[in-house]
């Protein structure tokens, strides 16, 4: 009789710690700061 491998004992696995960089959504032109910044 063929033996099926017994399932691994459940491991205590913490979720992997990571960071996510999210690009900002488009801002409507009317909502943009009317700053002209450097102009020379």
């Amino acid at each position: 009789m063929s033996s099926t491998p017994s399932p691994e004992p459940p491991q205590e696995r913490k979720p992997r710690k990571k960071i996510t960089v999210r690009r900002l959504d488009k801002i409507e032109p009317t909502a943009m700061t009317p700053s002209h910044g450097n102009s020379n």
Binding site: I19, V21, R22, K26
Partner: protein, 353 residues
């Protein structure tokens, strides 16, 4: 990246809720990171150009013993790949002289700001501009501004084609000409003027009109991009259709600019996007919109020429924001309005298929 440093234009700041904002507020550059535990802020603070990625990860682990080695390295790698970080120990850039590096330093800062690909020394876009060969057809309102901007930007090779002479009524908008130039061929005046703007650009000119697609095909040979700033012949099947056919067949990107009074529009076409004729076919006909009245001031002409130059540079640097195959522009009578049209390739189009 050997010594990562946060780009100055992208300096991080913390919002009230602990979120980090990077890259200012400009779409599509700016981004946010949720940073409840402070890992990202600490890593960004350590990215001042004095530490390797390994050293930053080690310091991060020292500050947050909960982080595994792999997790700390991953936080650093994510930030390095984000586009907000540059190399503080740049490799050599032999393609540009020290004089060129000073001349184009503001361009380099600009590209560092808007280019989110991690780079070795940051001069990569300028090196591509220097290697570019651009054909400019037309040296009128649009073309004079485009030719100036491409020369100032340091395009390596420019060929300028225009059959006309300078007339008094050109001087309200055509950047390259002065009262002393009246009656002289625009191509010759442009050559004199632009060589003085930037002696590092190889510029040649021709005083010819393009009379058909065969002549255009001969002209574009050996160039990387066509800047179409001529409007004659104007009718359907005219110079834009010739450019579409010739550039489409050659797989060559091209930019076409123009204005109709206060309306400025520029088309960007090339491999990977629908052709001019397909995009045009998707724009519903508007009665009265096609006739080109001569009225114009320097603003419309300058904007169209500068946008042409901008799109040519975006094509050669690989920084076009979206695949080619669209018109964009502005209408000066409506500050909140902008021109944008993109339509899919028609299934039966011989150029697109």
């Amino acid at each position: 990246m050997r010594l990562p440093r946060v780009k100055p234009e992208h300096a991080p700041y913390r919002l009230g809720d602990g979120t980090i904002r990077l890259g200012g507020a400009l779409y599509p550059i700016a981004s946010e990171i949720t940073d409840d535990d402070g890992w990202a802020w600490t890593a960004l603070t350590l990215m001042d150009g004095t530490r390797t990625q390994e050293e930053i990860a080690a310091r991060l682990r020292a500050a947050f013993p909960d982080l595994s080695q792999e997790e700390a390295e991953d936080v650093v790698a994510t930030l390095v790949a984000s586009g907000h970080v540059e190399e503080a120990a740049p490799g050599p850039c032999a393609e540009l002289s020290e004089h060129e590096k000073e001349r184009y330093s503001r361009s380099r800062d600009y590209f560092r700001w808007v280019d989110l690909s991690p780079r070795d020394h940051g001069w990569e876009p300028q090196v591509r501009i220097k290697a570019a060969r651009v054909l400019v057809l037309g040296l009128g309102g649009t073309g004079s501004h485009a030719a100036w901007a491409l020369t100032a930007a340091g395009v390596g090779r420019l060929h300028l084609v225009d059959p006309d002479v300078v007339e008094l009524s050109n001087l309200n908008r055509q950047l390259l000409y002065t009262e002393a130039d009246l009656g002289r061929p625009k191509a010759d005046v442009a050559l004199d003027r632009l060589r003085r703007v930037n002696s590092g650009v190889r510029i040649t000119v021709a005083r010819t009109a393009v009379d058909g697609p065969g002549e255009l095909a001969r002209l574009v040979r050996g160039f990387d991009v066509l800047a179409l700033c001529a409007d004659r012949p104007r009718e359907l099947g005219g110079i834009q259709s010739w450019a579409n056919e010739v550039c489409g067949r050659a797989g060559m990107p091209w930019v076409s600019g123009g204005y109709n009074g206060p309306l400025v529009s520029v088309g960007v076409f090339g491999p990977g996007g629908p052709c001019f004729a397909c995009v045009r076919a998707g724009i519903p006909p508007r009665p009265g919109a096609d006739y080109a009245w001569p009225g114009v001031t320097g603003a419309s002409a300058g904007l169209s020429g500068q946008l042409v130059a901008h799109d040519v540079l975006a094509l050669v640097t690989g920084l076009l924001p979206t695949p080619p195959g669209y018109f964009h522009g502005v209408t000066l009578l409506d500050p909140d309005g902008h021109v944008y049209a993109r339509h899919p390739a028609r299934p039966d189009c011989a150029i697109c298929s």
